[in-house]
Subunit: 143 residues, 2 copies
DNA sequence: CAAATTACTTCGTGCCACGAACAATCACAA
DNA sequence: TTGTGATTGTTCGTGGCACGAAGTAATTTG
C-alpha cells in the first residue's frame, strides 16, 4: 500500500508546485492567479458569465467582481449578447490578449523545464497518462 | 512539438483538478485551503513561524493572520520557544489534529480514485515519475 | 398572460496575501 | 561589555478573492 499513498502525496505536491509557478508567472505579467485563469479561458473566444463561472468553478457572484476588476484594468470587455438582452459576453481586449499570450508562453516554458530532465520515453508515458487523467477537466490552458 | 505543449496543458489541468479537490475536501472538514495546508505541515510536529512561512511559500506577515484565525478556531496553538524568546512554535491542538487527519484521509481517498482506473503498470510508472518530479517540493502532504 | 426560470448584479462577510514599518531579541565582534 | 547588524514575529493598510442571500430584468413555458 505504500505506493498508492505515495501517489496522493505526489499529486498534492505536484499541484502545489504548478500552482506556485502559475502564481509566479502571473505576477510577472501583472496578473493575479484568478485573472490569469479567466484570461486563459477567454482565449477561445467570448463567453457568457454563466458559462465562464462554470468553467472556472466559481459562483456567479464571485465572477462579477473578477470581471469588474479585469475590465477596470483594460484586460477584458463586457458586450451585450444580441440574442439575449439579459446576457453578457466577456471577451479579451487587445491588451488582455497580449498579456495572456505572454503568460501562456512563459508558463509553458517553465512547465516544460520541469519535465525536461526526464528520459524521453518516461516523459512521453507520463504525458500520456496525464492526458488521460485530465480528460474531462475543462480546458483552462489550451494547447 | 505537439507533445511537449500538451504536457504543460496537462500539468495545469491536473493542478486545477487537485486544487479543487483540496478545496472541496477542506470545506467538508470546515477548513479553508490555506488552513488545511498549514495543518498538514504541522502534522510533523511544532514549527516556528519563519520555517512555516518557508514551507508554505508565504510571507511572514501573511502567516500571522493565518495562525491567528486558526488559533481562534482552536486548531492550533502558539507556544514560546524556550531557546529563543523572540521565537514562537506553532503546533496542533487535539482538535486540529483530528481535523487534519480526517482531511488527509478523505483527500487521499479521493485522489486515489483519480488514478484507480489506470492499469496497474501504468499507474505505478506514473507514480514513480511523479515522485521524481516533486522530489524537492516541501512535504505538504506526508505519506 | 402569469408563473417559473435564467442571467447577471449588489451587498455583506470573512479570508488571504503582500509590503512597509516596527519592537524585541539574539549573535558576534571590537 | 557594548555596539551593530541580523533575525523573529507583529501590526497596519491595501487590494483581491469567494461565498451566499437577495434583488432586477428578460426570457421561456404552460
Amino acid at each position: 500500500m505504500r505506493e498508492t499513498i505515495g501517489a496522493a502525496s505526489g499529486l498534492v505536491r505536484l499541484a502545489f508546485l504548478v500552482q506556485n509557478l502559475y502564481a509566479e508567472v502571473g505576477r510577472g505579467c501583472d496578473l493575479t492567479e484568478a485573472q490569469a485563469r479567466m484570461l486563459c479561458v477567454l482565449t477561445n473566444g467570448s463567453v457568457g458569465m454563466a458559462e465562464l463561472s462554470g468553467q472556472l468553478c466559481l459562483e456567479r457572484s464571485s465572477l462579477t467582481g473578477l470581471v469588474d476588476r479585469a475590465e477596470q484594468r483594460g484586460l477584458v470587455v463586457r458586450e451585450a449578447d444580441p440574442h439575449d438582452r439579459r446576457a453578457v459576453k466577456v471577451s479579451l481586449t487587445p491588451a488582455g490578449s497580449t498579456a495572456v499570450h505572454r503568460f501562456h508562453q512563459e508558463l509553458t516554458e517553465r512547465l516544460e523545464k520541469l519535465t525536461a530532465e526526464l528520459p524521453v520515453a518516461e516523459r512521453e508515458r507520463f504525458t500520456r497518462t496525464l492526458q488521460r487523467l485530465v480528460a474531462d477537466v475543462p480546458v483552462l490552458f489550451a494547447d
